[in-house]
């Protein structure tokens, strides 16, 4: 995202590139994905050191499926957090989707696909109604979603208590989604074709910019693409060394790329960031602030529903106990660890991916090492605190520079 176009700052001291880079870092107000990727590398090195099974294809394949639920819910939460709001209902709302799906398929013998839509639809409705209260009336999202979470919990108990609190799934779709991998040949094919399409779009835009006398040097663009290709090849290669890309991960990545498209390439995303950054300025610019808020909660609802169904598919059961656990906390933590600012307007959907990877890596690694949950919670909490402290420090830095 850094077009180093005609940089015409008035300061003209000559510095070495490294010095300039360090300077930029020291005064930066937005570090993007850098902290979370650094944390991830550190975590992986530590666990690989403690247990050499950590970075094996088999464990990484497990890990890649373990990030899916947290990642999808973190993706949902990212939309709301980008507005500077919070949605505390996503944990229970996701279980509502799973419950509707399980009751529909197991007890009402409905066909699978309508149940998928009913389940996700239930979460969408919950998100939409909460969004209405937030955007039309202006009730703080914190309280609205707290109430929403309680209502969702009530709905889950109403649906599942009579069936003993949990319903094992038996349909083919959830079994396939929860257990299968995309065969290696297909995994390679799909990922390379998608990467090629992405690269072509990048190069065309780059050519367009260059033609108009702007844009980065060719080498920078090529280097970026080569780096991304390397990441894709290593990632897919590792997963294919085991059994291929898990279907769960495929679905999550599809949702991730769709959200990235929505927030980065479409006008909607620009407006979402604008409302999160300065709602009053957005309103004066003619942006429909209420619509953006309502739609963000609704989109979050859809992703929450998807996350709930994926969780049920992974576990093979829709269970009322899931909502009680750390589903919500993990999702919020993942989004924040991924660099999305709780103050709104800053962050990225990719943060949800990396944040979920951090959380899942800690859980997975701690299990491998045989550490008790107490240690795991301690470490996760510690990392979350670092992330939120960093966010706050950067914000204070922005406030200072903003008034200079």
């Amino acid at each position: 995202m850094s077009t180093n176009a005609v940089n015409t700052m008035t300061t003209t001291e000559i510095q070495s590139p490294l010095h300039r880079w360090v300077q930029k870092l020291m005064h930066s107000t937005d570090l993007g994905m850098m902290p979370v990727i650094a944390a991830l590398i550190a975590i992986w090195i530590v666990f690989e050191f403690l247990n050499p099974h950590f970075l094996t294809p088999r464990n990484l394949s497990n890990l890649s499926a373990q990030i899916v639920v947290t990642g999808t819910l973190a993706l949902a939460e990212t939309f709301v957090i980008l507005l500077g709001m919070i949605d505390l209902s996503i944990g229970w709302s996701s279980v509502v989707a799973a419950s509707v799906f399980s009751v529909g398929t197991v007890f009402l013998n409905l066909p699978v696909w309508p149940c998928v839509f009913l389940g996700i639809g239930a979460s969408v409705l919950l998100g939409f109604l909460q969004g209405l209260l937030v955007s039309r009336i202006g009730v703080p999202s914190f309280v609205v979603s707290l109430g929403g979470a309680m209502i969702a919990e009530g709905l889950v108990l109403a649906m599942l208590t009579q069936h003993g609190g949990s319903v094992p799934l038996s349909d083919n779709l959830s079994t396939a989604v929860g257990t299968l991998n995309v065969p290696p040949a297909w995994s390679w094919g799909i990922s390379l074709v998608l990467f090629a399409a992405f690269a072509i779009v990048m190069l065309m835009r780059h050519a367009d910019r260059r033609k108009r006398g702007a844009g980065e040097a060719h080498t920078i663009v090529i280097a970026k693409l080569a780096f991304m290709l390397a990441v894709v090849v290593i990632g897919v290669g590792l997963l294919c060394a085991y059994q291929g890309i898990p279907v769960l991960l495929m679905i999550f990545l599809a949702a991730l790329f769709f959200c990235a498209f929505l927030t980065k390439s479409m006008r909607y995303g620009r407006h979402l960031y604008a409302v999160g950054g300065n709602a009053e300025a957005a309103r004066r610019s003619g942006i429909n602030v209420r619509f953006i808020q309502l739609s963000a909660f609704t989109i979050a609802g859809a992703l929450v529903g998807l996350g709930g169904l994926l969780d049920a598919a992974r576990l093979g059961v829709a269970s009322a106990t899931i909502g009680d656990g750390d589903v919500l906390l993990n999702a919020v933590a993942a989004a924040v660890i991924g660099g999305t600012s709780l103050f709104g307007g800053r962050g990225s959907v990719y943060g949800a991916f990396f944040g979920a990877l951090v959380i899942a890596s800690i859980t997975n690694g701690m299990n491998l090492v045989g550490a008790p949950s107490s240690v795991r919670f301690g470490v996760e909490g510690f990392i979350l605190l670092i992330a939120i402290t960093l966010d706050t420090v950067l914000r204070q830095r922005r406030m200072r520079s903003g008034r200079a």
């Binding site: 995202m1 008035t10 604008a274 307007g345 800053r346 520079s401 200079a404």
Partner: protein, 255 residues
């Protein structure tokens, strides 16, 4: 200064506005010429903000008329003013700090391609560079977040946005209030340039030095009335201050 283009752009006649029992504007009349900077002065509560709100459509006047290019216009809402080519650069600038320069310039009016409303970033960047060049504004690369800019640069972005949106008249509310010396000079240069390019500019300020540096004509309001409308050349700072505070009675030239 720019005697080539001294046509009337905006003419305000007999604006009257009441907020409940309080009369905010009694009789405000003045004229803004194309290619000129008109300084709008007055003490707190003199009616500057109310006048601006009436012209910008934020709070229409109860009576009186506004003529743009000699035609009487109805400005009931901010959107009316915008579509007539009147832009207000508010004191708080209304910028999104988290977005880049280019994103702010086109905020709410992004160039998009159908059917997915995809942002045409390359087109927007090109046009932004063109406008910034005509304004002779030096800014870092266009995706730099506005949060990283200095106060003067932020002001420049807000002004460039007004220009980009096909404006004839730019209203600036205290543009130099929070700026240092060098940045103030830069913004005043920009104001002067705007007028030089044929825009009409209304400049609200408390800084008498600014007025005498950039304004072509001076309008003073007191208690909701125009008490002075004169060419700057005929004035001294003391006369203007006297008129603002009311310690000196009016000296002709008013409507």
């Amino acid at each position: 200064m720019n005697s080539a283009s001294t046509h009337e752009l905006l003419s305000v006649k007999g604006l009257h506005k009441k907020y409940g029992a309080v009369t905010a504007l009694r009789d405000v009349s003045f004229t803004v010429r194309r290619g000129e900077v008109t300084a709008l002065l007055g003490d707190n509560g003199a009616g500057k903000s109310t006048t601006i709100k009436a012209i910008a459509g934020a709070a229409p006047a109860d009576s009186g008329s506004i003529l743009l290019d000699g035609q009487e216009v109805q400005i009931r809402r901010p959107a009316d003013a915008t579509s007539l080519g009147i832009q207000t650069v508010y004191q708080d600038l209304a910028l999104c700090d988290n977005l880049g320069i280019c994103a702010n310039l086109f905020l709410g009016r992004e160039r998009v391609s159908t059917p997915f409303k995809l942002l045409r970033d390359v087109d927007m960047e090109e046009e932004a560079r063109r406008v910034l060049k005509t304004l002779r504004v030096n800014l870092p690369s266009l995706d730099t977040p506005v949060a990283a800019l200095s106060g003067g640069q932020r002001q420049a972005v807000a002004i460039a946005r007004a220009v980009l949106w096909g404006t004839k008249l730019v209203i600036m509310d205290e543009p130099t209030a929070a700026l240092g010396v060098a940045q103030t000079a830069e913004v005043l240069r920009l104001v002067r340039d705007l007028a030089g390019q044929g825009f009409g500019v209304i400049l609200i300020t408390h800084n008498m030095q600014n007025v005498f540096e950039v304004a072509d004509s001076v309008v003073v309001l007191r208690l909701g009335e125009t008490v002075m409308e004169q060419r700057k050349d005929e004035l001294t700072p003391e006369a203007v201050v006297g008129c603002i505070t009311g310690s000196r009675t009016t000296i002709g030239g008013m409507a």
